[in-house]
Symmetry: C2
């Protein structure tokens, strides 16, 4: 059945231009990143990073080289998955994107190592998709046995206590190094399952099956795994790549509206930091995305994965470029941590955080007012917040931002927009007063 459908898989060779890092990476020199259609690659500028040295470029679908802004995105709505490759040398893996992929057992089974599988999921997703996934893992494959562990749902459970439940289940089930962990759920499940896989017996294989827009366009791709500490988000974890990411877009049919919008915040992010044409496409198609038009969603997911995969392939362990994927996240993490994990969804906090980063970029004189206005407009169309919760204070922001992972030798580096749409910098070289101005503009005290 499904195995034959893959003979037509859509891995095509690269014909777009490359993204570059224009300067060597230090805490004090700002890194400037631009639209991938305008620059050439200079890998020598990355030679200080061992990981980047091994990274190669992403192969992307030829469709991305076409003027997609005006074309109708239809190629991903079929049983033939679109494939985006994350190119990381011997740790490369495919992202499968399409409708009905959980009905194609071969896609999953080709990535299962050993005979034992542990599905890690949550109490919301399990009743809807667990049986389907177990079926896909075992169909025509009687030698595989599947265990599952169902965690409570929500960001507030993304902690060490919950993680221990995964280890307990794996050890009690006597899983060995040849087993495979499968993350079935949103970003919290993917991050926790990935970190558990990285740590169980010092590392076992794992697969991502993201079921939210947030996880499908961002968190399931690139190998960032981890848990929260009560003082900050994702402070404990590992870089650990999956064997594959399987995105069945049908799983979005059961996603609550608020979760849908949350994921779109990350889609907007890709446009702002590196893909102006994608942003312009979003401006035209946000109503279709909010109405869950399958073609529009499939295209947004594919283009987001291509952007994410390309960045990760160039800078797996965040020496510089990869940090740009965190536009708005330093402000956003402060909101999530101070306001209470789970009260706002991650994408909601990121949306407000992006508005703050854009505000700061404008105050620095780095972008036109029109960009600020367009960011407001698109987030409002997506029904996302454009300011932090009213209870947030300047001190709450500063306290959490001080433990952000992008602090280096005491200096907080931020991702800020600079130049035309689609260009950003990752820098600690900005006027501290302007950061204060932005914080005070968005907080009562």
């Amino acid at each position: 059945m499904a195995s034959s459908s893959l003979s037509a898989k859509q891995i095509l060779s690269l014909s777009t231009h490359r993204t570059s890092l224009s300067k060597s990476i230090t805490a004090d020199s700002p890194l400037r990143f631009r639209n991938p259609n305008s620059l050439s690659l200079r890998p020598s500028s990355l030679s200080s990073s061992s990981n980047v040295g091994r990274a190669r470029l992403l192969r992307v679908s030829a469709s991305s080289t076409a003027p997609f802004m005006d074309t109708s995105p239809s190629e991903t709505v079929s049983s033939v998955p679109t494939i985006v490759d994350v190119d990381l040398g011997d740790r490369s893996y495919p992202i499968y994107i399409g409708s009905g992929l959980l009905d194609q057992p071969d896609l999953l089974q080709r990535h299962i190592h050993g005979k034992r599988v542990l599905v890690v999921t949550n109490s919301t997703v399990a009743p809807i998709y667990l049986d389907k996934v177990v079926g896909a893992l075992t169909y025509g494959n009687p030698n595989v046995s599947v265990e599952s562990v169902i965690l409570p749902d929500g960001e507030k459970y993304k902690n060490m206590d919950t993680l221990m439940k995964v280890f307990d289940k794996a050890i009690e089930s006597r899983l060995d190094r040849r087993c495979t962990f499968v993350a079935l759920g949103g970003g919290v499940i993917g991050d926790m399952c990935g970190y558990a896989a990285a740590s169980f017996l010092r590392g076992v294989n794992f697969i991502q099956i993201p079921t939210t827009v947030m996880a499908q366009v961002d968190s399931s791709v690139g190998g960032k795994t981890g848990i929260n500490h009560h003082l900050g988000k994702n402070l404990i974890g590992a870089f650990y790549q999956p064997q594959c990411v399987l995105i069945d877009t049908d799983t979005l049919n059961t996603l609550p509206d608020r979760e849908l919008a949350s994921g779109l915040a990350e889609v907007v992010k890709y446009g702002l930091i590196r893909d102006a044409k994608f942003f312009e496409w979003q401006e035209k198609n946000m109503p279709a995305l909010m109405a869950r038009d399958p073609s529009a969603l499939a295209y947004a997911i594919k283009r987001s994965c291509e952007n994410k995969a390309e960045v990760v392939s160039l800078d797996e362990k965040e020496s510089g470029l990869r940090a740009t994927l965190n536009l708005g996240h330093t402000f956003g993490h402060a909101i999530e941590t101070s306001f209470g994990y789970g009260k706002w969804l991650h994408g909601e906090a990121v949306a407000a955080g992006m508005v703050m980063a854009v505000d700061m970029s404008y105050r620095l004189g780095w972008i036109d007012e029109s960009i600020m206005r367009r960011v407001h407009n698109i987030l409002q169309q997506a029904k996302l917040p454009t300011a932090p919760p009213e209870t947030m204070t300047v001190e709450m922001f500063k306290s959490v931002m001080a433990v952000d992972k992008k602090v280096a030798d005491g200096l907080l580096r931020l991702i800020l927009l600079k130049g035309p749409l689609g260009d950003c910098v990752f820098t600690g070289d900005y006027d501290r007063k302007v950061l204060d101005e932005t914080l005070h503009a968005f907080c009562k005290s």
Copy 2:
């Protein structure tokens, strides 16, 4: 001061023969490993492992090519450190071995990244060496600030609750990705600090300063880090390499006799699995080792590190060869887990476990009785146990051995001796009845 002494560092090129893997690695085909003086390297047999592909061979001191059995080992007793390199491509690092190395600040300071250091130690070691290490880190280096976290001492604290204290301290101190963790203590501290470094902010630099024989000859080298689960030892962790290992042999002056003996169990192990001449040297020099003769100890540490580094360089993530370093450990871990973490020291459990593995090898007809006798004799000279605690039952062994990391698809693989002294195999291809016979021979029920 110290910086000049290193111009004479003793890194010399390799002139011994190489160790080989004689077969490709599968769960069902036994891997046979022999004395490094007798075989040639066939790296193609390791091509299935991505890590091995990058590994290169160890540079060892030329002294190891001399007939060291009869020479007086004196070259490491000086202020010039002996250096053993662990060759892992861009993750290579030196092991410094010598007397008084904590009085040479440059050795440590050259490996400190960033301006912030967290020393992880325990309540036994801290009163003796913490000030000295803080002094070495900060002498002439006022830009570096040092935090410390003092954990309770003992294997029973090697768990997630204790690990969280390290994260708490690091986060409360607002350490960032450019910080360095320093493990000051024995194997438990090294394993926990290393895993914390691997996980904090998804990975920060760390340095090992082992203060026990066990840590100096084995656990501080090679990047195995982790914690125990109540159902089994070291089941949660990471492969994560330090920036350097600094072995100041003077720290052994304060080591209790029982800890000294425990470490010697691992020294004996190297002789049995791959270095017959080292074993013969130990047979002659065990009284000197037990009497803490500095020359003898320094030589035993250096030769152990050379063996460990060579194995790790060839097989960092334990595709096969590295598993041989676990001779006796599957039985030993069962003792530690069932009998209660910390009641027996790790080396004591390993000693009894080696006797059991050797007994099983003999029952299989794979070794001469003389080897079994020599193993008994040398462990008795070291005042180490040669049988498990009387309360251990066959069922207790089987229950813990079932979750051993060397189980693959349900098959327990063991390291067993086979052939002349210094040769071993890592295999699941043995008669299950003989394992039962060994367990029954050492347990009442």
